[in-house]
Symmetry: C2
Subunit: 145 residues, 2 copies
């Protein structure tokens, strides 16, 4: 299973738990070191986005707060909180699926990586399997109405 | 003890642990519901900034991921990750001490609250006991050299 497929599996599992369906996976040296879905509702923690949980789990697994050379795969453009955490964790490449004009902080809004004070800027590859991720999010929010 | 003094006490304790000296306190209904210092080194977690830990602890204490009506006191201008988390947690007022031109994300850099896609913008009061906080940070980084 490739890393983005694993991120989609985490997003689908989050959907099943009634969470906004987003999944994230950290890959280092060709190996998945952490994978998580969004758990904001379950944990009542507004910071429990898929990316934050995956980054924290990867740091715990490796014992290193800097994930040098690691890549993050996520099904949605990260929000500004997650984008800044990705920079703090020294992620090498960020791959994401759907763009998020309303909440994203990479290509939209705060554009966290686009400021000279951003100390570490990952390579960014957006729009992978974009329509599939967007469709899952639409289905989720239609269910909620 | 007022809330900012409590945040300074958390910052001094962080200094004593060898952490970048930043402290944060969440106050709701006139009561301190959470207080934390920076624990990035201790926990090997790049997201373990004082603000994130205090917000998570406040949500855990109240059982609510939205800290409506709560205020956050922090000894340093929050970075973009923490600023975005403050917005997600629906903090009413953000009080901070030292400005951070190099790493801040409120008055500097990404200016997280200054974008129309930022769904919740707290009232911001910066520069309280600014020189005292800046002096503590300078002392910390001088020790490290």
């Amino acid at each position: 299973m490739d890393a983005m497929e694993r991120a989609f599996a985490e997003a689908r599992a989050a959907f099943g738990r009634g969470e906004v369906p987003v999944g994230a996976v950290v890959v280092q040296d060709g190996r998945v070191v952490a994978a998580s879905g969004n758990r904001v509702e379950e944990t009542r923690d507004p910071t429990a986005h898929a990316e934050i949980l995956a980054l924290r789990a990867a740091c715990a697994a490796t014992g290193d707060p800097r994930l040098t050379g690691a890549d993050l795969y996520v099904t949605l453009e990260p929000c500004p909180m997650c984008a800044a955490a990705i920079s703090l964790a020294r992620i090498r490449r960020l791959y994401f699926a759907a763009y998020d004009p309303k909440g994203g902080g990479v290509e939209h809004g705060a554009k966290v990586f686009d400021h000279p004070t951003c100390h570490h800027v990952p390579e960014v590859i957006g729009g992978l399997r974009e329509s599939e991720a967007a469709q899952m999010l639409r289905a989720f929010f239609q269910d909620k109405r």
